[in-house]
Symmetry: C2
Subunit: 441 residues, 2 copies
């Protein structure tokens, strides 16, 4: 059994480890284009913010550790073509540009995602960065040393996290967002208002403003938008990611319109013996029951593990995603799971919502803060569709309770009497989710 895996980050690495555990005799070879494996990009804002100094802390396992388990990782090797009929890949050794073919019994495409770069004038100027791999992190950290004016473009998770890190480094940060609110895809307005109100106390937030390009000689000096021109020593473009479809776009592989590979619950593509996982695939959404592009480390690791088992002869199914995610930005933590109101509309599901403003815990324990929860549920069956929670300490971890309830197809009303814990430092006798369940119309 010869298994080839393209890509050695979250999904590829998880799959390789699991496949080897299931079938110790399998030959497993991972081709990785970069020279870095098992890299956790979620650490980049914390690395740049000097929460830690050694970039290797973002790496879970080295090629040497994989080799010990009998998994060969060839870094700086790019798979440039796949032949599903002959079941072989063509690989370029980036160090010397030599190409060679390699045969597989089973192939896993785990090539991840790449940043979306809007068409911006003078994009090629120095000190204009994206934030995706370790080299982005190292380059930004170096450039920050002598510079103070930073413009961050895009107010999604990464944009907000890097903004916080830079503000805490005493940089002068402008955060520019095309939409009329932050985190548009993940949260509804009742929640993003809370985040924005707090953001404005810490940085210069520009909503509904379109970046058009940059000025500068060699290095960027200004950012031009449809409203103004801002001095900028450094620009970070954080306008989302898309599947890195380069290697499979010549195949007749089924994808979503953005290039995300469609797989079944076993992680199989529509092409025999080719599997896919990670930030290049669409995931089955448990609520909308549709294939959805949600590039998160959680889904990449989970589908990666399932596929790894299946590559080595297993028969496991991925149970689907809820798109559960969270962030902390300045004084606010926010989590979400399932469908937002906007996503329920898009999915054509009749829904109702309930919004509750409450406190995280008892008034007489230090650190009481406001928490807001919004729950979305089916208008007829009353089954939970999604939920979002934002506020001070303790907001985010409540998201996992909601995720569990949605996973179990629970009705909103069941939350009213759910036996959530009460202790003064953590909650009040009626948890905010009890209240939401009790007042939902």
């Amino acid at each position: 059994m010869k298994i080839i895996i393209i890509g050695a980050q979250a999904a590829g690495a998880s799959a390789a480890a699991k496949a080897k555990r299931r079938d110790p005799n399998a030959t497993i070879c991972i081709y990785e284009k970069s020279d870095i494996v098992s890299f956790g990009a979620c650490g980049l804002p914390y690395f740049i913010g000097n929460h830690f100094g050694d970039e290797n802390e973002m790496i879970s396992r080295t090629p040497e550790q994989f080799a010990k388990d009998g998994i060969e990782i060839k870094t700086l090797h790019e798979v440039i073509a796949i032949d599903p009929n002959l079941k072989k890949v063509t690989v370029k050794d980036i160090k010397n540009n030599n190409c060679f073919d390699d045969d597989y019994d089973k192939l896993l495409i785990a090539v991840g995602a790449i940043p979306i770069i809007p068409p911006l004038e003078n994009r090629q100027l120095e000190n204009i960065f994206t934030l995706r791999d370790m080299y982005d992190g190292l380059a930004i950290k170096k450039a920050l040393n002598q510079n103070t004016n930073v413009v961050v473009i895009g107010a999604g998770y990464i944009g907000l996290e890097i903004t916080e890190s830079l503000v805490k480094l005493n940089k002068n940060v402008k955060l520019i967002q095309l939409d009329d609110r932050v985190l548009t895809d993940a949260f509804d307005p009742e929640l993003t208002e809370i985040i924005e109100e707090n953001l404005k106390q810490h940085c210069d937030l520009h909503l509904q403003e379109q970046v058009q390009g940059f000025e500068g000689e060699q290095k960027v000096t200004h950012v031009i938008t449809d409203k103004a021109k801002y001095p900028a020593d450094i620009v970070i473009i954080a306008t989302g990611v898309k599947p890195n479809s380069e290697v499979y776009k010549h195949l007749n592989i089924e994808t979503l319109s953005n290039g995300a590979i469609v797989v079944d619950n076993y992680g199989q593509t529509n092409i025999a013996d080719i599997y896919a996982a990670g930030d290049c695939v669409a995931l089955h959404h448990r609520v909308s029951q549709s294939m959805t592009y949600i590039p998160l480390a959680t889904g990449a690791n989970k589908l990666g593990k399932i596929v790894g088992d299946n590559l080595a002869g297993g028969n496991n199914q991925f149970p689907g995603t809820l798109g559960t995610s969270a962030l902390r930005v300045f004084d606010i933590e926010a989590g979400r799971t399932g469908l937002t109101e906007q996503q329920a509309i898009k999915a054509g599901i009749p829904y109702k919502t309930v919004v509750v403003k409450d406190k995280n815990h008892s008034n007489y324990v230090e650190g009481q803060t406001s928490v807001t929860a919004k729950l979305i549920y089916h208008a007829e069956t009353r089954i939970l569709l999604g939920g979002q929670i934002a506020g001070g300490s303790g907001a985010v971890l409540r998201t996992n309770s909601l995720a569990t309830a949605i996973w179990a197809n629970m009705k909103i009303d069941e939350l009213a009497m759910m036996d959530f814990l009460y202790a003064p430092p953590f909650s009040r006798p009626w948890d905010i989710l009890n209240i939401a369940g009790g007042i939902a119309k």
Copy 2:
């Protein structure tokens, strides 16, 4: 419709408010023996620890606020007899010792619990306290002013919380526990070990030691145990509570052996038109399917609300308890839900367990600490029976996810791929509950 409620704390107050909302024309009268209503005893350790100075912060609503809603509360009125045939109660006005009768259509017994006092020599000495009502709190706070040596007897929730408060007031605290570990009823040894290890760094913990009595003239000066004699200016007895059965023990009412009233899911006792709720009742346990004495504010409020609705003509059922509870003590937070291993044995349920030691969140974010989770599940069906989590920040709120999973009769294995959130300040890509679900044998 005339509703009489005995007791104006969590359950009685919740019931009254809900009954009045359902039937604004109902006449509702609450008799409360003390002069304090809607008191939250969980605040006492924080009050004594000077987290706040005004004892009224522990009171949710005053008699005046109830009166505004048309609910009459007669404080310092003790119901001394119930006649279920004539449907009347006999009430003593404590201020003048006058007695009178009052008729009811529906009666709610919500008299709560009282401390269990072991038979100890010289218990009557001054400065030996229990910790249950506001006057206990005020008296302890006053006595603490000039004194430094405190002995706390009993290492349950209250014993541990008051120990922390007193240590932080720089008192010299000995905590004496009869059992060989703390929190015996709520947690299994794998978890209590973690709590004990941390406790020992902050106070003088004595396990497996039996207090026999006290010495002193007017005030206590020493505590005598089976092992030694300790100087003590103040003693706090926190050895648990039992139903306050005084008012109903002459009735032929069904109770558990400890006097906890058995009610059906509607909150009705075996006597027509008499309901009960709060710390004097047994609750239906969703996992063991038996009536269990779990005197917690959460259950009292919830059953109180259900019963309030039913008193006024409703037809609601209490869905049961999981005994979910939590505490923070020094550097450890701990939560539990469902059955412990010991409780599974007692319930005769075939079970397996899984214990995971992990971290609360990513290594590169400040505040990473250890978290330990123990899950108990049915040996054959693999359905979750209970769970306990202890560790640093973020341990406790995960308990609510477990409670939700147990509520939904989820299998342990479903946790492996559950879509829990990942963000570096809150978790790791595989949450500790994912790991537990994945490795459970």
